[in-house]
């Protein structure tokens, strides 16, 4: 077990290094640089000063080495485009915002999704089943941007139940200011509903045809008991393993939801940074997200062992 974790950890460092390298050179391959728009209408001398100031006058490989060296120390540097913004500040200020939004969306979406999934599986082939399928497909077919704007127009504009834009800050950063969070949470929860309803339904149908369910039926167990004791428990395995991935992804924020509701999260910032080729921020955020992903993947592997006794610890010989 200990050796396995050490090995995974070393692999993780290697992967992160590869990711940072890939990101760096991908950004380099894009024409232009973070300063080009600002420098475009400057006299030549000012341009040179500006490039020197940001260290962009050095050759690519030299900058790559400098970046990697600083990254190893945990220093991603300062934004090229937005003066004074750093990756540290981003984690401190923006990550909690996206995380809260994502967690709210996920809690709501997964709960509703699982209930709908159970409903669809139990009532398989009935109107209820198809309604669930149609409902989830319909809701994920509508782009977030449009859905968000419609919710905003109706519930904030016409009915005035909720504020149009904004997000709780300060003391209410994690808890409180709920009225601000309702519409963004609703907008984003439907992708979870669709995913989890489908996932649970599929896996329940897989389990229904297993021999042990047949056995339970022939023993004369009640339907409710079979569903609770045999079907649900076993069909939750894929759900349990999908969940950590959702947790990892949920805090990365959503560009459109954040931009519609003026939420100061990382999703919007990330897309802007990519478009601006703001290397330090993109690199920092990419590595952060990748780290999250890898850690979660690792946890998932461990979880598999816990929830499914048929799987043995990787690395342990049979």
């Amino acid at each position: 077990m200990g050796r396995y974790i050490v090995r995974r950890f070393l692999e993780m460092l290697l992967t992160l290094f590869l990711i940072a390298t890939a990101t760096f050179f991908l950004l380099e391959a894009v024409p232009g640089d973070p300063l080009s728009q600002r420098a475009d209408k400057l006299p030549v001398q000012s341009r040179e000063v500006m490039y020197k100031r940001y260290g962009l006058d050095k050759p690519v490989m030299e900058r790559y080495l400098i970046t990697m060296k600083n990254m190893a120390k945990g220093d991603f540097g300062e934004s090229f485009v937005y003066a004074g913004q750093t990756v540290g500040g981003l984690i401190h200020d923006r990550l909690p915002v996206s995380a809260r939004l994502g967690i709210q969306q996920m809690l709501l979406g997964v709960t509703v999704g699982l209930l709908l999934g159970i409903l669809a599986a139990i009532k398989r082939g009935t109107i209820a089943d198809y309604t669930v399928v149609a409902f989830s497909v319909l809701l994920i077919s509508i782009p977030h941007l449009i859905f968000g704007l419609m919710l905003q127009k109706i519930f904030a504009g016409n009915l005035r139940w909720f504020p149009t834009i904004g997000w709780p800050s300060g003391d209410e950063l994690w808890f409180g200011g709920w009225k601000y969070t309702v519409l963004p949470t609703l907008t984003g929860c439907f992708s979870y509903i669709a995913t989890y309803a489908r996932l649970l339904k599929t896996s329940m149908l897989d389990v229904v045809n297993q021999d042990y369910v047949l056995t339970a039926e022939s023993k004369g167990l009640s339907r409710g008991r079979i569903i609770r004791k045999h079907i649900l428990r076993n069909s939750f395995i894929p759900v349990m393993t999908q969940l950590p991935m959702s947790v990892a992804m949920c805090i990365t924020g959503s560009f459109f939801i954040e931009s519609i509701f003026a939420i100061p999260g990382i999703g919007q910032y990330y897309v802007t940074a990519v478009n601006n080729q703001d290397l330090s921020i993109v690199l920092g955020e990419t590595v952060l997200l990748a780290l999250l992903y890898i850690v979660v993947l690792f946890i998932t592997d461990l979880l598999y062992v816990v929830v499914d006794p048929r799987i043995s610890m990787p690395g342990r010989k049979k």
């Binding site: 990711i19 024409p31 449009i146």
Partner: protein, 303 residues
């Protein structure tokens, strides 16, 4: 009352005992039989068929030019003249939607093909070579998967320019990993499965094993993969249009139409509504057909 004299021996022959009364049906015949019994899946199949026809003939049905502007007729609502109304340049929305759907479907299909081909080859290579090759290839997949796909997509579109080729590369570059993993898992599992072993022992040629065992198993995985991938690609393409990195004017896709419609939705909701409906129908048909296929192709779900 049953008495013994009510029974008599009719005798039997060797052939009769060994004959199989049920007609032999292959895996594919069986799958098709079961799919046909699923009304929802069949309805989806028919709808998809109709959509394909519309995508081919739809743009020319009304005889309007879907590119050339006609400013005097701009932003009209639905009418007998323009079934779905017109856009901000006075062009027939009905024709434009089918042109857009054509592009969306074409992009999704080609991207899916790319994904399947690359994924299968990559996965087969991983499973076949194993050892350090497998480890290395797996590491590459891990790196690609850990990179946010949006980042990769945007950057590739930036490097390769805003064109169809760039779009296809950008869409498929992160998508094939999943296929590769599944194929790898499937082949590894088959390699060690008893029936493949049995076939080998019985002296089946490698060709026969590949054709009879690997291919059917793989194809059902790939078909399912495709039925999930196609609507996903249609979505992703639409999402890219919202970020302003989709197809470029005057080319249109459903995504482009929806993102344009969104900007004027407070004034001309029909410009958003119709493309959205077509998108929903396409996506829903693929999803429901996918469900049906999954049921039909998975022998464990046989009833």
């Amino acid at each position: 009352m049953l008495t013994p004299d009510k029974f008599k021996v009719i005798g039997y022959t060797e052939e009769e005992a060994n004959s199989i009364c049920r007609p032999t049906i292959s895996y594919w015949q069986d799958a098709w039989r079961r799919l046909r019994k699923n009304p929802v899946a069949m309805a989806s199949l028919i709808i998809l068929g109709l959509l394909v026809i519309m995508v081919i003939i739809g743009p020319n049905l009304r005889g309007y030019d879907y590119i050339a502007m006609n400013i005097p007729d701009k932003n009209q609502g639905a009418s007998a003249k323009y079934w779905f109304g017109t856009d901000n340049m006075g062009r027939d929305l009905f024709s434009r939607i089918w042109v857009g759907a054509r592009a969306s479907l074409a992009i999704a299909l080609v991207a899916t093909m790319l994904k399947l081909v690359v994924g299968t080859l990559y996965g087969a290579a991983m499973a076949h070579f194993g050892g350090w090759v497998d480890d290395l290839l797996m590491r590459i997949i891990e790196v690609i998967n850990s990179l946010p796909s949006l980042l990769v997509t945007i950057l590739i579109m930036m490097v390769l320019g805003n064109n169809l080729f760039a779009m296809l590369v950008a869409l498929s570059i992160t998508a094939w990993c999943n296929t590769a993993r599944q194929v790898r898992g499937m082949i590894k599992q088959l390699k060690e499965s008893e029936y493949v072993y049995a076939a080998e022992v019985l002296g089946a040629s490698p060709m026969r094993i590949i054709l009879k065992h690997y291919v059917p198993n793989m194809i059902s995985i790939l078909i399912l993969d495709a039925s999930v991938a196609i609507p996903q690609f249609i979505f992703t393409e639409a999402g890219l249009s919202f970020l302003g990195i989709g197809l470029k004017t005057p080319a249109i896709s459903l995504g482009v139409l929806i993102s344009l419609g969104q900007q004027t939705m407070d004034f001309y909701p029909s410009q958003l509504f119709y493309p959205c409906v077509v998108l929903c129908v396409i996506v829903m048909a693929f999803n429901l057909l996918g469900d049906g296929l999954r049921n039909a192709l998975d022998p464990r779900l046989r009833q």
